[in-house]
């Protein structure tokens, strides 16, 4: 006898399974007819079984980290691994404030609350300090508050009264957008005197005694947070009637990163005895300690929790192996997109006892100096004592692509602008993929071309010419050897005038802006030459290894701002170096529905489309060295050589027909008589 299979997840399978079971009985026969009562009963049974199976299946999925899809369940499983997912985090910036004309006051105070305000993306942000700051004047005419950390957001508080009769009492924070690192808990044990005792936040139970005034923070349902107190075994238990005051900051997260311009909106007070007076802002001068605000981030995603929780568990809260560092960095700096950790012993030459951590942030170009210091500080709790940690910025190489696409409009409803949109979406998806968007990522021309080709069956031809660009930080007034690596063979016979070119920059001793370049085609060599902005050769400053893509040059710049070095790759499938994060810049694609739309057919049909936009690069403004004595733009003076002679520069008279009257050169081949002579048609040929 066949028993019904109730594990199926299709209604028809379940229904036929129940029917097969009834078929083995003689009691009823009408199950095959849709109108029969038995058929209706079978439908109800199958329907019921289907949803039971479905619910069991989904419930089982939600029990495992790999298959759970509901955030509350993912968070719950992660908690069992000791991992607390990151909340929103507030953007921060450090500021120094100096107040002058202070001799008349005993104490200068800075009230807690809003200190700086800023506007970004048509939205206003307020940066606050969470405590009053005070400094004693002691007769000085000016006083300073140094390294004041201001955080973006607003301070809020919620109060609970402990009720022991309610065994289900819980202490929630009723907002999703809090920075959980800003949570502070104060407990008033005796309401008559309002003395607040601040509790300490703990993440583990290590070294927590039964009387310690500590609290734990956990994410609970609906992305809200709960404060957990002790039980007199691990941490002090709350007593009936005690008042719990929870302070927290609600923030905008990553939206407030990268802000560079602020206004002071703080409240400055001068105190004489018990009398406080407001001080005018004219007494205040302040400076930012970093260029921009940084450190803000949004909720940790489900995908990220699934990735990080088991790795964090594996690291056991100790930074010993390189992967330990990677998982701990993700925990203490939630704005990290990519993390690369290199042990100093693997470098050439080795640097024992050092760990180099390169972080690419989700928002922003690099991690600010204040955040780097904080990361190093936080890592002290986890790392082995003798290890020195250094946080570096990632090196990026821009892959600049301009796709060219030919499509047949009779085979698709998409128009050219639709295809441009599809290409843009595809590239966005490609550059967030793990193959490309990682340290040592890979750019594959084949994948990109095939991906674009597959966007629409009407696309007949795809070409994606690219060039590469890397930023070099120049050191001002110091002669320095720079070495940059493009990790691919370089193309030297391009249609551009130069196969390597830099942005214009200021060089010591030269009054006009200069640029570095290497000539392509017939004039090619493997030297890096310096030219004035109008193309006059100055000197050779370095060399290029075209096989490996390494460019080295020695210059003494007179600017701090970085410059780009641009090259064309010969091989279009590029695996970048271990410390390199590739980035893609998509130029406006050329999408045509007819080859006749192009002015020059070779523009489309020639695979060799890669060109450096030389004119565009050289039009970037730069300064010359204002202190230079020699102007290299004028012809060099003739100098007396050691033998006492003077170099004579022959002058050719081109305007008087001198060539006609000159000596006749005997040409044995007499090229004028060869009828079938065909001149070169390729102007780039060097033959």
């Amino acid at each position: 006898m066949e028993l019904p299979v109730v594990s199926a997840l299709e209604f028809d399978q379940l229904r036929s399974s129940i029917k097969n079971y009834i078929r083995t009985k003689t009691d009823f026969t009408d199950y095959d007819f849709e109108g029969s009562n038995m058929s209706m009963l079978v439908d109800v049974l199958a329907y019921n079984t289907l949803y039971t199976s479905y619910n069991v299946n989904m419930a089982a999925n939600e029990l495992n980290l790999d298959t759970a899809v509901i955030r509350d369940n993912v968070v719950s499983i992660a908690k069992r691994l000791g991992y607390n997912p990151n909340s929103y985090t507030a953007s921060k910036i450090s500021v120094d404030l100096t107040i002058s004309n202070t001799t008349n006051y005993d104490i200068i105070k800075l009230r807690k609350g809003a200190l700086l305000s800023a506007t970004a993306s048509n939205k206003n942000f307020t940066f606050i300090i969470r405590d009053d700051l005070e400094i004693a004047v002691r007769g000085r005419s000016s006083v300073s508050f140094n390294d004041v950390e201001v955080i973006e957001g607003s301070d809020f508080a919620i109060t609970y009264v402990v009720d022991e009769s309610n065994e289900h009492q819980r202490f929630f924070i009723p907002n999703n957008f809090i920075d959980s690192d800003t949570i502070r808990v104060f407990v008033i044990s005796d309401p008559t005197n309002n003395t607040e005792v601040e509790y300490t936040r703990k993440n583990t139970i290590v070294d927590v005694a039964g009387s310690d005034e500590v609290f734990f923070v956990e994410e609970v349902q609906d992305q809200k947070y709960e404060i957990i107190f002790g039980d007199d075994v691990i941490g002090r238990k709350l007593r009936n009637g005690e008042i719990v005051k929870i302070q927290y900051v609600i923030t905008n997260g990553a939206e407030a990163n990268n802000i560079r311009k602020f206004n002071f909106v703080g409240k400055l007070l001068g105190a004489i005895g018990n009398v406080e007076v407001s001080l005018p802002n004219s007494n205040l001068s302040w400076t930012l300690n970093s260029d921009y605000s940084d450190g803000g981030s949004e909720f940790e995603s489900i995908k990220s929790i699934k990735y990080r929780a088991p790795r964090y568990y594996a690291s056991q809260e100790r930074a010993v192996t390189l992967s330990d560092y990677e998982s701990i960095i993700q925990q203490i700096y939630s704005n990290a997109d990519l993390v690369n950790v290199v042990g100093g012993e693997s470098l050439t030459p080795p640097r024992f006892g050092k760990v180099f951590i390169t972080i690419k942030p989700i928002v922003g170009e690099s991690v600010s100096s204040i955040e780097k210091q904080r990361i190093v500080r936080e890592l002290r709790k986890y790392k082995v004592g003798s290890i020195d940690v250094e946080v570096l910025d990632p090196t990026t190489i821009d892959v600049i692509a301009k796709p060219i696409v030919l499509f047949d409009p009779s085979k698709t409803r998409n128009r050219d602008f639709n295809i441009v949109s599809l290409i843009t979406d595809f590239i966005k998806s490609y550059i967030t993929g793990i193959d490309f968007n990682s340290f040592g990522g890979t750019y594959s021309d084949l994948v990109v071309r095939c991906g674009i080709k597959d966007l629409d069956n009407a696309i007949k031809y795809v070409n994606v010419p690219i060039y590469l660009r890397q930023l070099v930080d120049l050191i001002n007034k110091v002669e320095t050897e720079y070495e940059i690596d493009f990790y691919t063979k370089l193309k030297v016979d391009s249609e551009s005038e130069y196969y390597m070119i830099s942005d214009p920059f200021c060089h010591s001793g030269i009054s006009s802006p200069v640029f570095l370049a290497a000539k392509s085609n017939c004039n090619q060599d493997y030297s890096v030459n310096m030219y004035t902005i109008n193309g006059r050769f100055i000197k050779t400053v370095g060399e290029i290894d075209i096989e490996t893509g390494k460019v080295t040059f020695t210059i003494q710049s007179c600017q701090n701002t970085p410059i780009n070095i641009t090259v064309i790759p010969e091989i279009l499938d590029i695996t970048f170096g271990p410390n390199i994060v590739p980035q893609m810049v998509l130029l406006q694609p050329i999408v045509v529905d007819s080859i006749d739309d192009l002015n020059d057919r070779s523009q489309l049909l020639d695979d060799d489309q890669s060109r450096i936009p030389t004119e565009e690069i050289l039009s970037i403004s730069a300064d010359g060295d204002a202190t230079a004595i020699i102007d290299p733009t004028s012809p060099p003076p003739l100098t007396v050589l050691p033998g006492g002679s003077v170099v004579n520069i022959p002058v050719t008279d081109t305007g008087t027909g001198a060539a006609e009257t000159g000596p006749i050169v005997s040409d044995e081949n007499n090229i004028a008589t060869i009828d079938d002579f065909t001149p070169e048609t390729n102007p780039y040929s060097c033959s």
């Binding site: 009408d30 849709e34 109108g35 009562n37």
Partner: protein, 149 residues
């Protein structure tokens, strides 16, 4: 060797007078779940009674009512909210005919008639059919469709 169908098939050797087909017996559950006084088991509907119940079920099932079978049934109740006319009565006949032809292979329809009771706002439906393979007389079923207030 036992039959793979066990003892399920107890065919009646009745020969239809016009089609030459043989019908088997039909046994269906009764939804009033009353007790058979002799066997103490639930009452079973057999043959023409089972088929009559099936016809009634098909006509009175609303479209979309059956799980995972959204096209089974008729829109009979929706006609009650239209103006009573011969047009709506004809539409009702067509709907009944369609659902029975598609889902009840045991019968051959003889006649469907709908009496429009304009004063009472209801339809009286008569369905006459033969049971294929049974030499019984023409079966009929009638019911009144009334708009529920």
């Amino acid at each position: 060797m036992p039959s793979p169908l066990g003892s399920l098939v107890t065919r009646k050797t009745l020969v239809s007078s016009d089609l030459g087909k043989v019908s088997r017996s039909f046994k269906d559950l009764s939804f009033n779940f009353s007790k058979n006084p002799i066997t103490n088991d639930v009452v079973i509907l057999k043959n023409e009674e089972a088929i009559k119940q099936s016809v009634k079920n098909l006509v009175l099932t609303k479209i979309g009512e059956r799980p995972f079978n959204p096209y089974l049934g008729t829109d009979t109740t929706s006609y009650l909210f239209e103006l009573s006319s011969t047009v709506s009565a004809n539409s009702l006949i067509e709907a009944i005919e369609k659902v029975l032809l598609e889902n009840e292979p045991r019968i051959r329809l003889v006649n469907i008639s709908v009496d429009v009771e304009e004063d009472r706002n209801d339809y009286e439906v008569y369905i006459e059919y033969d049971i294929i393979g049974l030499p019984e007389e023409v079966q009929s079923i009638s019911f009144i469709l009334v708009r529920e207030s």
